[in-house]
Subunit: 332 residues, 2 copies
DNA sequence: CTGAAAGCGCTTACAG
DNA sequence: CTGAAAGCGCTTACAG
């Protein structure tokens, strides 16, 4: 910038004015400055700008896995909102590891992002308090933050699972399995709660062997699915707790001799083309991301109200797999 | 940092040493400094650090759409490599718009990212020259940069498409349709070239009505697919140029009275569970991202060799749809 | 309409 | 082992 000023024969401040489109520069002066800028290949260094202005016009997004078909559209939605507000997006995957989440979040804070959208992996976010005190805005999405009063945008995990299981009950099932993610994940326990509520509402008992929470690695899900389909009290229907679990369960059911009904939480690409097509409780991942990012920017614009919790509805999409009648392996 | 130094009763430089883990500080002094840091809730401001050091320990990734199931794993792979090198990832979608690509890239440059991984939307990257001259490293991935000598990591689009089409020819097809993306996209024309090469190698003519390049919006793809399946010279097999096109084509074929063979470029989740299961030419999106990011960091570590072009192999996965025999609608 | 001075929060030599 | 001074590239008051 100094070089540009020298070449154009003007002061530093004048160059700054031109670069930032501020008023109060003669057309002729501006022309000289622009000429010098292109001749020298000058580009403003935003790091220096940030140092003075305080705001970085960037936000951070920390989620579980950028590659997951649920989180990818969520990211894109956050990016679009950021773009509308002239901000850039810094992105990171926690890989469901609380230590990695913390490390990432703090690295983003050190870069002085203006705000943060976080899908938490851990259950304790008190480490954010100094940052929040220093002016950082944070919105949790998909899952609430832990031990901290903060904004959160969630899906109706409880209601969605309850309705999905009730759908199976309405189609005559009494022995329904629940295959979910690890119990330390908020959405997993909420969906399990929905399952139990639907069973209780129908007056149905829940055998301990019908419920399985744990890592969503295909091996475990496959083993657990097979276990529920055999044994003394086999299930006639399955409720799967997220997209990864559903994909694996569908693979197992495709090779199973008896038809087994299935409702999955989260929609899957091509789910409508399978035989039977897969009935799902769909979340709107884009809308989750958009809502969270919009809330974040409202905070950055000065909204200092109490922490807000927004809950988005889910949608049951009946396609076939959830409407199969019970095929009772024990009695026929 | 000044406050920390004052509170600990030491100089600024000593605080800097502690924060950066540099040697040459008494255990007792270090303890005093650390105490002051936690008491004051101090976090180093990396913007200031960047201003002095020159390096930002961040890289930018610009691609078409963060939410696309092909680009999402590519992003994640770039992120992992960045993480291994202690760098953060700034991310943006160009939405296949050259102007938006340029805008994003320049915004990332203004933040002084150390390097850039770019899936180009535009065909002219001379705008990067001043940045490159100033030390920016750039690696293009999935598609080469335009009018600029730069590193590129690509899939073998030509060979993959050629083999996929040859596979259909080997199963008896003579009238094969090609449904691809817009012709200004490098991968679209490369794959079309592969299609033509396979047809030529088999001595088969290509009717103009069998080739369709254009936007991958479902409406257009649906219309074009239906057009190729009817009319005077209907195709008996389809080669689809990417994941989005394949998904739409599969939907059309599912409702079509006659079986039509299909090979798609790019793998799809659940493709193995469809009836018939979808034969694809799979790219390794993660490996593309990883290879590009690793090359970028080699450049940042000082590798100043001539621009490198790496080409990754594709893999034909036969699952059923590509092995269907011709069902000739005209002759029976 | 234009510019010289001070300062954002760090690090880099350099000196004790 | 420790610190005072200068400077990274901008912007913010302030003065002409």
């Amino acid at each position: 910038m100094k070089d540009v000023a020298a070449r154009a024969g003007v002061g530093l401040k004048t160059v700054s004015r031109v670069v930032n489109g501020e008023p109060g520069v003669t057309a002729e002066t501006e022309h000289r400055v622009r000429e010098a800028i292109t001749a020298l290949g000058f580009r403003r260094n935003d790091s220096a700008r940030v140092l003075r202005k305080g705001r970085t016009a960037s936000i951070g997004l920390v989620l579980e896995d950028l590659a997951d078909p649920f989180y990818a559209p969520l990211s894109r939605a956050v990016e679009e909102v950021a773009r509308d507000h002239g901000a850039l997006l810094l992105n990171g995957s926690s890989a469901e590891d609380p230590a990695r989440e913390r490390e990432l979040v703090l690295a983003l804070c050190a870069r002085r992002v203006d705000g943060l959208v976080v899908v938490p992996a851990g259950g304790d976010h008190r480490y954010l308090e100094p940052e929040t005190a220093a002016g950082l805005a944070t919105v949790f999405v998909d899952r609430p933050g832990g031990l901290i009063a903060a904004d959160a945008v969630l899906s109706d995990n409880f209601g969605g699972a309850r309705d999905g299981v009730a759908h199976l009950v309405a189609h005559g099932h009494r022995r329904i399995g629940f295959l979910g993610d690890q119990p330390r994940i908020h959405t997993a326990t909420e969906r399990l709660r929905g399952y139990r509520a639907a069973m209780a509402a129908a007056g149905l008992p829940v055998d301990a062997s019908w419920v399985s929470l744990g890592p969503t690695a295909p091996d475990r899900v496959r083993a657990e699915t097979e276990r529920m389909l055999t044994g003394p009290s086999p299930v006639t229907a399955l409720f799967t707790g997220n997209n990864r679990v559903t994909a694996t369960a569908v693979r197992v059911l495709a090779r199973h001799p008896r038809p087994v009904a299935l409702v999955g939480f989260d929609d899957l690409e091509l789910a409508d083309l399978l035989t039977p097509a897969v009935t799902v409780v769909a979340q709107d991942a884009s809308r989750l991301g958009r809502t969270a990012a919009e809330l974040l920017f409202r905070r950055l614009d000065g909204d200092a109200g109490p922490p807000r919790h927004e809950e988005l509805p889910t949608r049951l999409i009946a396609r076939g797999s959830g409407e199969l009648p019970p095929a009772d392996g024990t009695s026929g």
